[in-house]
């Protein structure tokens, strides 16, 4: 059960962090007219196509004692970043980035531009327009982003294995726990954990699809 709570804790932290840093990135990607925008779009989408081991490998190198992140972390906290919960969060944030940013971009882009014009003409700056108009109208997208990055983080395996290793209570997440059980031929334990994961994933995806079908929207679509 330790592994399950660790996974939930990790997924919660990661989705919270992703929502905070994903919003400005998504805002910029949705509204910027810079011609080189496609470059950043490609970078954001990279984790979708790269094998988790590749991301995990680079993350591990960067976090290692000789890597830039590892050195920086050591300076501030006096210990390394690799094989810690913090390192796990960092790597997971990278890995789940597109799952948070892409739904945000899609929902920001679907806000009627005339509403933004109206807001500007009524004297509202960009920040006020974002809080009062764009964000409230993008709530389904924000929920989708949060839920998808949560689910994706819970289910990750390769990145966690590369960066976190397999330290019980510290970096041993559900997926790795299941793998361990299977390795030691404890199929019943593996099955129990796998079922829990299956149930969580199904519940979470149903939520996303229900919201995107606009089953519950607070205002009536015209």
């Amino acid at each position: 059960m330790d592994a399950l709570f660790l996974s939930l804790r990790l997924a919660l932290c990661v989705s919270a962090i992703l929502l905070v840093i994903g919003m400005p990135v998504a805002y910029w990607l949705a509204y910027s007219s810079w011609r080189g925008k496609f470059l950043l779009e490609s970078v954001v989408a990279l984790p979708l196509v790269l094998p988790p081991t590749v991301i995990g490998f680079y993350a591990l190198v960067a976090m290692g004692p000789r890597g830039p992140l590892g050195k920086l972390w050591f300076m501030f906290f006096g210990h390394g970043l690799a094989f810690t919960f913090g390192g796990l969060i960092l790597a997971s944030v990278l890995y789940s980035f597109p799952f948070a940013v892409q739904p945000l971009i899609a929902s920001f882009e679907s806000v009627d531009r005339k509403l933004l014009d109206a807001s500007a003409v009524l004297g509202a700056g960009r920040l006020r327009t974002f809080w009062r108009v764009i964000l409230p109208l993008s709530l389904p997208g924000v929920l989708t982003a949060g839920v998808l990055s949560f689910a994706h983080t819970i289910g990750e395996f390769g990145v966690v294995l590369m960066v976190g290793g397999n330290l019980a209570g510290l970096t041993r997440t559900v997926s790795i726990d299941i793998y361990d059980h299977v390795q030691s031929l404890e199929y019943a334990d593996a099955n129990r954990m796998a079922l829990v994961l299956l149930a969580i994933s199904f519940g979470v995806l149903s939520l996303v699809y229900a919201v995107n079908r606009r089953v519950w929207t607070p205002w009536a679509a015209k």
Partner: protein, 374 residues
């Protein structure tokens, strides 16, 4: 409500801008206008694609012109020569979009209060209540825009943009889709509000009926240029260009050749197309043999089932009805007189005259209902 003295103090919007729009591909569109808009309602009229909305966007600060100068009252909003470009947020222009752009997640009251963030709570509440009352939507203040009728949404949108005490009001076809009575009622409330504020209102439309209903001043825009301005009668009843003529509701646009000029009578005779049909039109800048276009409104043509006599109208043309079509309270008859005329009559008249396809009729046209189009 004409200005009483103090011409200088009358707030005025002066616009002189050029804007090249680069569409995808080579087609570029040039907005090149110069106009002065005094207090009161000025109609910006022209076919779709003439640049009306782009012009409003430039005035509001949503689109940056390539060059020029925009002045509202005494403040320069844009001047390319000295690098002034006041951002849209600070221009104090009110803009009601064609789609109204009410915030769907906010109530009518919250929509109206949106532009008043800098005010004290009490002052804001007072202003919101006042404007909601002026536009008769105070009862709907807690409703979301999706839950109220089209006319109510339009009133709410007007209230939202006017509550900020703007210097200029821009209206981009805000009342399309409303029936005439509702439209007139809203315009009356707008006039009432502006009687006290006296700001320039630029009202964009492409429909002739709205020009007739609002009519004070009209600026006609076509292909990004001002083609004429003045009182509605002057601008619309002497159309200078064909597309404008069609947009202005001249259903009959006939080409012909000038037969002869009768300068003493101030008229000339024009033979229409290849037909033997000739009509008398007001004298224009033309010589015998010139090709001209004549614009005639379908509603200006009288229809008779017997040859009329003793009329002042100079043109009586014999023809046959080729089609009859009723749409709403309007019957459109197409009459072949060598060239085909479109004639509008009321359903009652159509019944009384027992109009039917193939029936022989006479069209009666006053000389001054025939407008010469260059």
């Amino acid at each position: 409500m004409d200005p009483v003295g103090g011409e200088i103090k009358t707030p005025m919007l002066a616009v002189q801008i050029r804007k090249e729009r680069r569409n995808s591909g080579a087609s570029s569109f040039l907005l090149d206008v110069s106009m002065e808009v005094p207090a009161g309602i000025t109609i910006l009229f022209g076919p779709s694609g003439a640049g009306k909305s782009t012009l409003l966007d430039c005035i509001a600060g949503l689109v940056r012109p390539d060059a020029g100068r925009i002045v509202a009252g005494e403040e320069v909003l844009f001047d390319s020569s000295i690098g002034i470009n006041v951002p849209a947020q600070k221009r104090r222009t009110a803009y009601v979009f064609q789609t109204l752009a009410l915030f769907p997640h906010l109530s009518v009251e919250e929509n109206v209060a949106y532009g008043l963030k800098d005010l004290h709570e009490e002052e804001r509440q007072r202003r919101v209540e006042e404007i909601l009352g002026a536009f008769r939507v105070e009862k709907l203040c807690r409703q979301k825009p999706g839950a109220i009728s089209g006319g109510e949404r339009q009133r709410a949108a007007l209230a939202r943009s006017l509550v900020t005490d703007p210097r200029v009001l821009l209206l981009d076809e805000p009342l399309t889709g409303l029936d005439a009575d509702l439209k007139a009622a809203i315009v009356d409330d707008l006039r009432l509000w502006n009687a006290a504020k006296r700001i320039p209102i630029l009202y964009v439309t492409h429909t002739r009926e709205e020009v007739d209903a609002l009519g004070e001043r009209v600026i006609a825009l076509e292909n990004g240029r001002v083609v004429s301005h003045g009182a509605p009668m002057d601008v619309l009843d002497a159309p200078r260009r064909k597309r404008l003529a069609q947009a202005a509701g001249f259903e009959n646009l006939l080409s012909g050749a000038v037969r002869d000029l009768r300068e003493a009578d101030g008229v000339m005779r024009v033979r229409l197309g290849e037909s033997p049909c000739e009509i008398e039109v007001p004298l224009g800048y033309a010589a015998a043999g010139d090709h001209v276009q004549v614009a005639i409104r379908a509603g200006d043509i009288l229809l008779a089932t017997e040859r009329p006599r003793g009329l002042s109208a100079r043109n009586v043309i014999e023809g046959r009805i080729v089609s009859l079509e009723q749409r709403g309270t309007l019957v459109t008859a197409r009459v072949d007189c060598g060239v085909v005329f479109v004639v509008h009559v009321t359903p009652g008249a159509a019944r009384a005259l027992e109009l039917s396809v193939g029936k022989q009729v006479w069209l009666v046209l006053k000389t001054h209902s025939c407008h010469l189009v260059k």
